[in-house]
């Protein structure tokens, strides 16, 4: 299958992240699955007139388009014209191009939270009128209408993440190539379940601190970051801690908060990203699917039961107290 990749209004970081795929690398992964780029703005030889000819061929039907990947939000401003991003050399806005090309593609993949829901480009009053391909924040209907379907009958596949993990993108493309991408493979926000059915909290190395509400109070401390540091890993979808990034790490492993970058509207949490909003001293956000009364009861109980090892390590920058060794039975 062929892939046309467009970079709309984003940072290009999802492509940069994609290049971090390993074992094998992205070029081998895609080739081995029978996937090839018709054009990619960072990787292909063709530029300028060569690309315009290719795009014209897709529009007039002489070139089949299998997969359209769009990385970056779609800008609707100023005044609904889309002219905040003109596809260079074409005199047409990216908004216009995406609306023209998406119905011609067998599958449409939104790569990254900008392309899926608007993402960081729509932060702070959204000065450029950024929307996602098929969502505007958490609301269906973006640059493409809510009822948009690609030639396959599928809606836009939303590979959300800021950036996306390289494997989320390659595995989505490989599932498409293998004929295994269906409605059932997506969650209610269009995200592939293979990573969206997990929480960032799963396999977080701070889980033992979480169990006892042994919390970090400042950046650099080892404790759980939910209570004070703004971490929403217990609510954020993603297999970051299971899969690992760039050799096996991820945000919480590096000592900073999960900011729920796979979610619509993560860019506007309505509080500073690295501070937990509280009501009467109690964090406002609860772990997904946790009844509030039970959470409160368990939290107060577990906090009272916090072992000394965890209490001390939680506010240290390195393990100060190792686990107690069991003495032998003999």
């Amino acid at each position: 299958m062929n892939i046309l990749w467009l970079q709309s209004a984003g940072c290009g970081g999802c492509t940069m992240s994609l290049l971090c795929a390993e074992s094998p690398g992205v070029l081998d992964l895609l080739r081995d699955a029978g996937l090839s780029f018709l054009w990619h703005p960072a990787l292909s030889e063709q530029t300028g007139a060569e690309v315009r000819a290719l795009l014209a061929g897709i529009e007039d039907g002489s070139q089949t388009l299998d997969i359209l990947c769009v990385e970056g939000s779609i800008l609707t401003g100023p005044k609904g014209t889309g002219r905040f991003q003109m596809l260079s050399g074409t005199g047409r806005s990216m908004l216009d191009w995406v609306r023209s090309l998406a119905p011609l593609a067998e599958q449409v993949v939104a790569v990254g939270t900008c392309a899926t829901y608007g993402g960081m480009t729509s932060a702070g009053g959204n000065p450029a009128g950024a929307v996602g391909l098929q969502y505007d924040g958490s609301y269906p209907g973006g640059a493409l209408p809510a009822d948009f379907r690609a030639r396959s009958g599928m809606p836009v596949i939303n590979v959300a993440g800021c950036p996306t993990h390289p494997d989320w993108v390659t595995e989505t493309l490989l599932l498409i190539a293998g004929g295994e991408m269906s409605h059932d493979a997506l969650d209610a926000l269009g995200r592939p379940l293979f990573y969206a059915e997990h929480l960032v909290h799963h396999a977080c190395p701070k889980n033992e601190f979480y169990e006892y509400k042994a919390s970090a109070e400042k950046p650099g401390q080892l404790g759980c970051m939910m209570e004070h540091m703004g971490c929403v890993g217990t609510q954020a979808v993603g297999d970051c801690n299971i899969r690992g990034w760039n050799g096996g790490s991820c945000c919480t492993r590096a000592g900073y908060a999960c900011i729920n970058c796979t979610a619509p509207e993560f860019e506007e949490p309505h509080h500073p990203f690295t501070e937990t909003p509280k009501f009467a001293g109690i964090p406002v956000g609860l772990p997904s699917d946790m009844p509030k009364a039970w959470f409160m009861a368990l939290a107060s109980l577990s906090k009272a039961a916090t072992p000394k090892r965890l209490a001390e390590n939680a506010v240290a920058d390195r393990i100060e107290v190792p686990p107690t060794l069991r003495t032998g039975r003999k």
């Binding site: 999802c14 030889e45 300028g48 000065p127 590096a254």
Partner: protein, 477 residues
């Protein structure tokens, strides 16, 4: 006399969106106009937010210079607080930043720049078969080796910063994760593997041999590795006579450490070294789709002209230093830092070959720096200190991204961001004309470029534009 106009775009293998309009007379570019055709408005988004949110938001300006943006935001907040980061935290941040810059240079050389030498238009040149083998887009052996090596060295950013791009590990007080002795040996091993890659493919010799060259002739006569292949191609295509710069360079100095910056800050004006005075910066708006007057970034505003009125032709503002254009990037850094080869290469001003060579020199020097920094990590020292931000104040964060001088200027009132301005490397290099009509650096460098009769996307123009390694997403932000 023949005259025609060309609109070059989509201009790929640059980061982000770029459109170049060319006026051609007698087979040469008479005038060039660089349009940055995408506006997102990060400086507007920042207003009213908590100052610390800059650390989350600004890295997302750019997926290839993400750590540079992070480091600049962190430096701006730190300067507002008046406190330096923990010594070891600064070192860990420099390691992450150095890895990003190293990766960016390699990506540029192997994926963005050299792919053009594999074009069919160059068939028949004595080096073409080798260029096809090594540099063909997505297929060349150098391209594939680069992608693999790059993914592996980014494990260092994984270890220290969790992920790349868009880490939140770099903070005004240091970094959020204190590496252990185990982390240090892993990073040492990763760097050893990367040295093996560089010496085996790019340089074909010990890195020190390349970094230690002293004359331009030594470097242009280098025959080993892909660097040697590039030098051969550059000689044959006359890349040293293409894309001339003004001879004026700017560097804010790379990698702020307690002992000073690893690559010096300064200005260079055709042989004369000077000090950077950021008070002399003005962003001219005469040819940008921006409303308002030319201002220093501390007083700057970002107010897009939604009607996109002429004579403006780009969303990019036009920064000038003491009223003049300057070029920034790896060559500028190496010239200002005093590397003899860089100074020799740039004696007549920058050109296509010198810009690429500047990056190659810096790849070698950065690998050596990184090895020293990792060895110097003290895994029992603090990596972060408390930095309390004042409720009101202003700060300036100056760093060097791979592509050159990057500045953040923040103003805070009542604990909220009241002003945030960013001047990125490619804002300097790809700025449009100013009030005096003076073209920006790439526009000036394109004047005189040869254009063949049938060329729609002239190769000379592609080489010149890509020699700057533009990052267009940073440019307008």
């Amino acid at each position: 006399m023949t005259e025609r106009s060309l609109l070059v775009g989509p201009f790929n293998r640059v980061e982000g969106d770029l459109e170049i309009r060319l006026e051609i007379k007698d087979g040469r570019v008479a005038q060039a106009y660089a349009n940055s055709p995408m506006f997102r408005g990060f400086e507007i988004m920042m207003l009213g937010k908590s100052p610390m949110d800059a650390l989350t938001i600004t890295p997302r300006i750019c997926g290839i210079c993400s750590i540079s943006q992070s480091a600049a935001a962190s430096a701006a907040l730190g300067s507002m607080a008046g406190l330096p980061p923990a010594t070891q935290g600064a070192l860990a941040a420099a390691i992450m930043h150095g890895v990003e810059n190293l990766c960016d240079h390699l990506t540029h050389f192997n994926l963005f720049f050299c792919a053009d030498f594999a074009r069919a238009a160059y068939a028949g040149r004595p080096w073409h078969d080798r260029a096809v083998t090594r540099f063909t887009a997505m297929e060349g052996s150098a391209v594939r080796a680069c992608v693999e090596a790059r993914a592996q060295i980014l494990h260092i950013v994984g270890l220290l910063g969790g992920k790349w791009p868009h880490t939140l590990a770099i903070q005004p007080g240091g970094v959020t994760r204190a590496p252990t002795a185990r982390d240090r040996i892993r990073m040492t091993s990763t760097l050893a593997a990367f040295r093996r890659y560089l010496e085996g493919t790019l340089f074909g010799a010990p890195i020190e041999d390349f970094a230690g060259l002293t004359r331009a002739a030594d470097l242009t006569g280098w025959t080993l590795g892909d660097a040697g292949l590039f030098m051969e191609i550059a000689e044959d295509l006359g890349l040293a006579d293409m894309g001339h710069g003004s001879g004026r360079f700017l560097s804010f100095g790379a990698y702020p450490l307690p002992e000073g910056r690893a690559f010096a800050a300064g200005t260079w004006d055709n042989g004369t070294l000077g000090a950077v005075d950021t008070a002399e910066i003005r962003e001219d708006l005469s040819h940008a789709w921006m409303l308002g007057e030319a201002r220093h970034p501390t007083e700057g505003r970002t107010d897009p002209d939604e009607d996109m009125q002429a004579p403006a032709y780009s969303w990019c503002k036009a920064p000038r230093l003491a009223g003049r254009t300057v070029e920034t990037g790896a060559l500028a850094r190496q010239v200002i830092d005093g590397h003899p080869v860089a100074r020799d290469l740039a004696a007549g001003g920058a050109n296509v070959r010198a810009r690429v060579a500047g990056r190659l020199l810096e790849i070698a020097r950065t690998q050596i720096l990184l090895e020293g920094w990792v060895a110097a990590l003290q895994t029992d020292a603090p990596f972060i200190t408390d930095v309390a931000l004042p409720d009101a104040g202003s700060g300036e964060g100056l760093v060097e991204a791979a592509r050159g001088a990057l500045g953040h200027w923040i103003k805070v009132e009542k604990g909220r961001i009241a002003g945030y301005q960013i001047v990125a490397p490619t804002t300097w290099n790809f700025s449009p004309r100013d009030t005096a009509g003076t073209p920006g650096p790439v526009e000036a460098a394109l004047e005189g470029a040869p254009v063949g009769p049938g060329e729609e996307t002239p190769l000379s123009v592609q080489h010149i534009v890509r020699s700057f390694d533009p990052c267009m997403v940073c440019t307008v932000h």
